[in-house]
């Protein structure tokens, strides 16, 4: 599942990033607490958060995340997109809640694994 697939499943838009990027989701972490995210020891994390700030992107970069999704159509500060561009972290804006995103992504990843 690539970042374009994620944007489609979550009815969102890819604000920053290459729609053709092939990097796949390795693990999904849903949190607004960045110290929690820093604790997760997994590769290619997709970060689901409601935190529309530069720090969500910087945290994603530190843990080597493959992308960040901001929920509830929260307005994204312009600096957030700039930092995402600089650090090459794909950024998706979705109208869904984090809970709804978790449910949809879980179903989609399960379907992908059993296929």
């Amino acid at each position: 599942m690539t970042i374009s697939d994620v944007a489609k499943i979550l009815e969102g838009s890819l604000v920053v990033g290459d729609a053709m990027a092939s990097r796949a989701v390795g693990a999904v972490v849903a949190s607004d607490l960045m110290s929690d995210v820093l604790l997760v020891d997994a590769d290619d994390i997709l970060l689901l958060t409601s935190l529309a700030s530069d720090q969500a992107i910087r945290t994603a970069h530190i843990v080597g995340a493959m992308g960040v999704v901001v929920h509830d159509s929260k307005p994204l500060p312009s600096t957030m997109s700039q930092v995402a561009g600089q650090l090459k972290i794909p950024l998706v804006s979705s109208p869904l809640s984090k809970y709804e995103s978790c449910v949809r992504l879980h179903a989609a990843l399960e379907a992908e694994r059993s296929a």
């Binding site: 607490l33 820093l38 720090q55 910087r58 945290t59 530190i62």
Partner: protein, 337 residues
């Protein structure tokens, strides 16, 4: 771009203390130009106006005469006198007011008739950066300085600012030169402990906009050095947590990153206020953060605990009123001590 701030303007002399407090705006943050060297930005935030202002201020009361103001200015070689009673500032008389009084024939009038009472003042707790902005934005040679209770505590002039900045910059340059000399000596002597990579970042209090940049840089350095991906993440996590800690909990400080031989070290050093109980502070979930910090995704009390968890060696020293130094070390070779 530098921000332009609304001036602090005193309410009229008849205002009550409650009115004064209600009209007083909160202290906004100053951002200095991005191109300024970090050491200067840090100085302008660290040095407060109270450190620079003169406190031996000549004051007069509203009932004194303009002639007395003229006499005091001449004898003390000053160009402005605040008019205050019981610490409460009512106005200021400048050389220009005296010149007008002489030519207009009212030099023997009481000051209250001719003083300027539409005043722009600074607060003692504001960073020095504010004073520079005010001198830039308003055509005054000096500003009265008030404390939190809105009482006159000093006067600040451009000369005071220049003198302090020159002194502080000399100290900083001496420190940098000493450090550079130590590095070059260690390198020349072939000392195996000599750092072959040393970088330092200044971290400002409450500067959440820039917090994390140092950790992002450290991660990029580790990638350039082909350090293992998992180890890179551990070092970056420690650096990030410590950087955020300096930003939200301290008065400001520095984050240093070193690679020497087979060891990488992250050192976070701040200038206070210090941690009363470091054992307690290093436990998961212990926090003194406020709601603002939490709204930014931090402040759950996991910063020090996370840094300790990912480090091979962890050390913390804190002195109340002086500051805290946290050192996280990492073995770059598997199984290395």
């Amino acid at each position: 771009m530098a921000e332009v701030h609304k001036p602090v303007i005193l309410p009229p002399p008849h205002a009550s203390d409650d009115e004064i407090i209600a009209r007083h705006p909160p202290i906004p943050r100053v951002t200095t130009d991005e191109d300024s060297p970090l050491v200067i930005m840090e100085l302008l935030q660290r040095i407060k106006i109270r450190d620079v202002m003169r406190t031996d201020v000549v004051v007069l009361s509203r009932r004194d005469t303009m002639r007395r103001a003229q006499d005091l200015m001449r004898r003390n070689r000053i160009s402005g006198i605040p008019i205050a009673e019981g610490g409460r500032l009512y106005g200021i008389v400048s050389v220009e007011d005296i010149i007008q009084a002489l030519s207009g024939g009212w030099i023997d009038d009481v000051i209250v008739k001719h003083m300027s009472n539409h005043l722009i003042v600074l607060e003692a707790d504001m960073p020095l950066a504010f004073a520079l902005k005010y001198f830039e934005n308003y055509n005054y040679g000096r500003f009265p300085v008030l404390n939190k209770e809105h009482r006159l505590v000093g006067l600040i002039s451009q000369r005071d600012v220049t003198r302090t900045l020159l002194y502080e910059l000399t100290l900083e340059i001496n420190k940098l030169e000493k450090k550079a000399m130590q590095n070059s000596q260690a390198e020349a002597s072939g000392d195996s402990q000599a750092a072959y990579l040393l970088r330092e970042w200044s971290v400002l209090h409450n500067d959440l906009e820039n917090a994390g940049k140092a950790a992002n840089d450290i991660k990029a350095i580790l990638r350039e050095h082909n350090v293992d991906r998992r180890l890179t993440r551990r070092i970056a996590v420690a650096a990030y947590e410590l950087e955020i800690n300096i930003c939200i909990h301290s008065h400001g400080g520095n984050l240093t990153f070193m690679i020497a031989d087979d060891k990488a070290t992250v050192i976070a050093k701040d200038t206070g206020p210090g941690i009363p109980d470091v054992v307690w502070a290093c436990q998961d979930g212990t926090s003194t953060a406020n709601d603002w910090i939490r709204s930014l995704g931090f402040g759950a009390g996991m910063g020090l605990a996370n840094s300790k968890r990912v480090s091979d060696r962890f050390d913390i020293k804190s002195v109340m009123g002086k500051g805290t130094t946290v050192t996280c070390s990492f073995n770059l070779k598997p199984g290395g001590e």
